[in-house]
Symmetry: C2
Subunit: 548 residues, 2 copies
């Protein structure tokens, strides 16, 4: 592997650590805060996690005395789920943190995600390997995967791996599901009398794993800044060429944090927020009408161009679409053979006749290609693949229909559609993500050294500069609630959706009318690593507004 | 307009000028080189341009004496065609250059492209306006347009505008067509006894306007670096997730310079070069086979992922597709009524029966959706809209078919498709483009001050550092050849396609086999403005390899 010029220089970047960690972990001690419990479903969760429930919130403090680890620490690390910028720095921080406790500590990377732990596929991460990946994007140092560790058979195989490697701890770098699994694994190990710690690190570009301690999940900063670069460039192009409306879909299946942050950074003419669509029970027709209003208003002042942001998961938050999709999944599951025997256009008519009248109306209002996509493109379980639906194209088409029906619309409406996701997930981490991730890795090392289990790392005060950052661990159980999974109630980490009363959405709602007709676009440009601190080290608008 | 943090800092960037221009244009003089003629079609071109043919190549030299302009210069500027990063800096350079000759010089921007000149739509560009746009992307300072100035009626209206503003010169910032028009306008003005100069500036992200003097057109550097950032990020994601083949279409309708440069920068597993496809007379089937070979080879070593780059114009370089499209355009033009009367699937059969047997075979081998696209999605003249064809999706589908037919292929093949164009056209210029464009603008001011007309600006020695840069003007007629346009021979600037014997393609061809199976990806990362010179000021690989 030869490095690009930028990567070569970025290797030399030394991430900034929170004050308490700067002398190395031998100079730190844990202070215990209040015992933490979930907001609701306490009894159910307590009974599911008898050994790891109600643990105290922990904070790392520095001290003058030094207490190195008595023996080398042996730790395994797993990357789980989609890429997020900074994953390599979590691993580098973990490595350096373990070495700061004992110079002969060893770190093993389980390859290809959680299945590597189950199947004992791993490699030792040596200083050379770690150095080659510092401050780089991607998860390619050990790969990632989506295998869920859920059954006791899987857990027992993990225990075999752990025993064979004699590990003091496992670090799971993942999103809400992966951290839920980490908690279950931690509980299982304790129940089995295994001393190995399990520690989680909050990763997801979607930004939906957060609370007052985990102020943001890592990767969100870099990914959203990368998307904002592109959105700004497109907005500048739109304003220059004055001929296209750009419909831009952004990653974020469950929550619209990415779209909200990108809208705050780039001030596009419109941005849809799934959580608002759901709260206001908006139909696709309502959404199309409101977008057509903006297009009309701009056309009236000679602006036949603009930019609209659309979150990937939008459709599932439109109540009428949600009902339609649920009915379709049910119907196609029960009448698979009959449906398969139909040919061509008859499928659409057959389905339409079988739907409830409300869903049939929703279905029949959809453009042909979307109707076909709903019927044809199903996953191995026979379910509609919502993520495959080209929401940006669907909305563009619905808006076009609306405009066509408006006698008073005399503008033009040509569209370009974009989807940004893979462009940002494996980007090289911004200075913020490089620092934050390195600190999280260090914190994970401290938790394992303290034999803490069932914890997730946090670093807080993120908008206040690294000197004010505080690091510690939260019991994962405190983040949980009970949800239905595969028809059964399960304790899982609650996803943090956009709060409509929160400061980020409030700021957006207060300003969006000013961005409709005026070209108030902001062009954030590409992430900078070397320039003035204002340009290189800024946090997201979301963190800034939340005052964290 | 409030500026983003990056834009605020970038405003303060002072572009570096070629040595000869650094004391201002009053300290420069022109040196005349050889009289320049086109490579071919000399007689025809001479007779089309009696007043502006055979002019000498000009070079700017500095000198100690100073000769300010006797009176303030009055100049108009036009942006023509698609956005390219750095356009605003050409205008800023032009403005500063004119002011360096006389502090009261005035610059007028014609709005909305060439039609602004014809219709006398303009605004005076004051220092405040210029300052707000320095080092920014986009063409929004005055907008752009695609109106072609071709008829004498149009030219006469331009003359009225010019007389009403009493202009010494017009600067046309555009691609090959726009510069051809600039030459025609220059000739017309001289024939009419009008002293106003017309000067062109070579703009296009496609990179197809170049020769030994115009080593690159402006905007190419920034656009291709922006695309390469995204391609690198996607490659890193592909290598981390190990589950998708990414088919990435890149802008570049006529020439594959962008794809070639992006391939050299990112070292993807495959990159198609239209000029090679044409030279080797490859069919879609050949292309699909060669891509399927790469997919198979990688699958054999467990790599069910990769990245393929596809130039936007590819299809028109596939001889069999070119014939098919020509036949379709002809057929649909002659049988419009009959074709329109057909419904649904019968159109395909009707067309297939009317095509030559070769083209019918090509047509029938295409996936359904592409066949429909060819028939349905036609431009106002009834022609197939080649640019709308989703070549990246077409290739992905053809490769999938190939793999399906291969008994020995046991890998998986899932694809993601991307198209990058608008993401880079209006990006803020790299340091290179900021400097280069500013210098081109300065040079344009010098040409007008020297009452030179029918010239296009150049700056050369671009890969040797700004201190070695030389600036001057080329007679546009020397770039011309005769081509058929709308059925008639016309003198036009010859497009510079990728030369298969040139150093850039040679480098690519010599290395591409090493990039097929090995993951030799390079991750260039985002454009940097403030860091080490190696990171911020590097030229394209194409320029580097061409030793210019």
């Amino acid at each position: 592997m030869t490095l690009s010029t930028l990567d070569t220089f970025r290797k030399q970047y030394t991430p900034k650590l929170p004050t308490a960690l700067r002398l190395g972990l031998a100079h730190t001690a844990w202070s215990e805060g209040e015992k933490a419990e979930p907001k609701k479903d306490r009894d159910t969760i307590r009974s599911a996690f008898p050994n790891t429930y109600g643990l105290p919130i922990l904070k790392l403090q520095n001290r003058s005395e030094t207490t190195p680890a008595a023996k080398p620490l042996r730790v395994g690390v797993v990357l789980s789920g989609g890429q997020a910028p900074g994953g390599h720095n979590v691993i580098a921080g973990l490595f350096d943190g373990l070495r700061s406790l004992h110079a002969e500590s060893k770190l093993f990377g389980f390859t290809g995600g959680p299945s590597g732990l189950e199947k004992a596929k791993y490699e030792e991460l040596t200083p050379d390997i770690i150095d080659a990946y510092r401050n780089t994007g991607g998860f390619d140092i050990i790969g990632s995967g989506r295998t869920k560790l859920e059954s006791t058979e899987q857990f027992d195989r993990c225990i075999e791996t752990i025993k064979s490697l004699n590990l003091d701890g496992i670090v799971v770098i993942g999103g809400d599901d992966s951290n839920t699994n980490a908690a279950v694994l931690a509980e299982y190990f304790r129940a089995k009398g295994l001393a190995t710690s399990v520690v989680g690190v909050p990763k997801t570009i979607d930004g939906d794993l957060k609370n007052e301690y985990i102020e943001t999940s890592f990767g969100f900063d870099t990914a959203v800044k990368t998307y904002s670069e592109l959105i700004g460039n497109i907005a500048r192009d739109a304003r220059s060429a004055r001929k296209y409306w750009h419909f831009i879909k952004l990653m974020g299946r469950s929550a619209s944090h990415i779209t909200l942050e990108a809208a705050l950074r780039t001030q596009t003419n419109a941005a849809l927020i799934s959580e608002e669509v759901e709260a206001k029970k908006l139909s696709l027709n309502d959404i199309a009408t409101s977008l057509a209003d903006i297009v009309s208003e701009r056309a009236a002042v000679g602006k036949n161009y603009g930019v609209v942001l659309v979150p990937e998961g939008l459709i599932e938050f439109v109540p009428s679409m949600k009902s339609l999709i649920a009915e379709l999944n049910d119907m196609l599951a029960h009448h698979e053979a009959e449906f398969s025997s139909l040919v061509g256009d008859t499928k659409t008519a057959w389905v339409s006749a079988k739907l409830s009248s409300g869903s049939a109306g929703t279905f029949n209002d959809l453009p042909d290609n979307i109707r076909l996509q709903l019927l044809m493109d199903r996953d191995p379980h026979g379910n509609v693949q919502v993520s495959r639906i080209e929401t940006e194209a669907l909305l563009a088409e619905l808006v076009e229909r609306k405009l066509h029906d408006r006698a008073d619309f005399s503008g033009s409406f040509s569209t370009q559609r974009h989807f940004f996701g893979y462009e940002g997930r494996a980007a090289a981490p911004s200075n913020f993500d490089a620092d934050y991730c390195f600190g999280l890795g260090y914190t994970a090392a401290a938790l394992i050294n303290g034999n803490k289990t069932g914890y997730i790392c946090y670093i807080r005060n993120l908008s206040k500069g690294v000197d004010a950052w505080e690091a510690g661990g939260l019991p994962i159980t405190m983040l949980m609630n009970m949800e239905q999974r595969h028809g059964k109630p399960k304790p899982v980490i609650e996803k943090a959706l956009v709060e409509l009363s929160g400061p980020a959405f409030t700021e957006f709602a207060a300003n969006r009318n000013d961005w409709r007709v005026e070209d108030a676009f902001q062009y954030p440009g590409p992430i900078q690593y070397f320039g003035p601190s204002e340009v290189c080290d800024g946090v997201t608008r979301t963190l800034e507004l939340e005052g964290r």
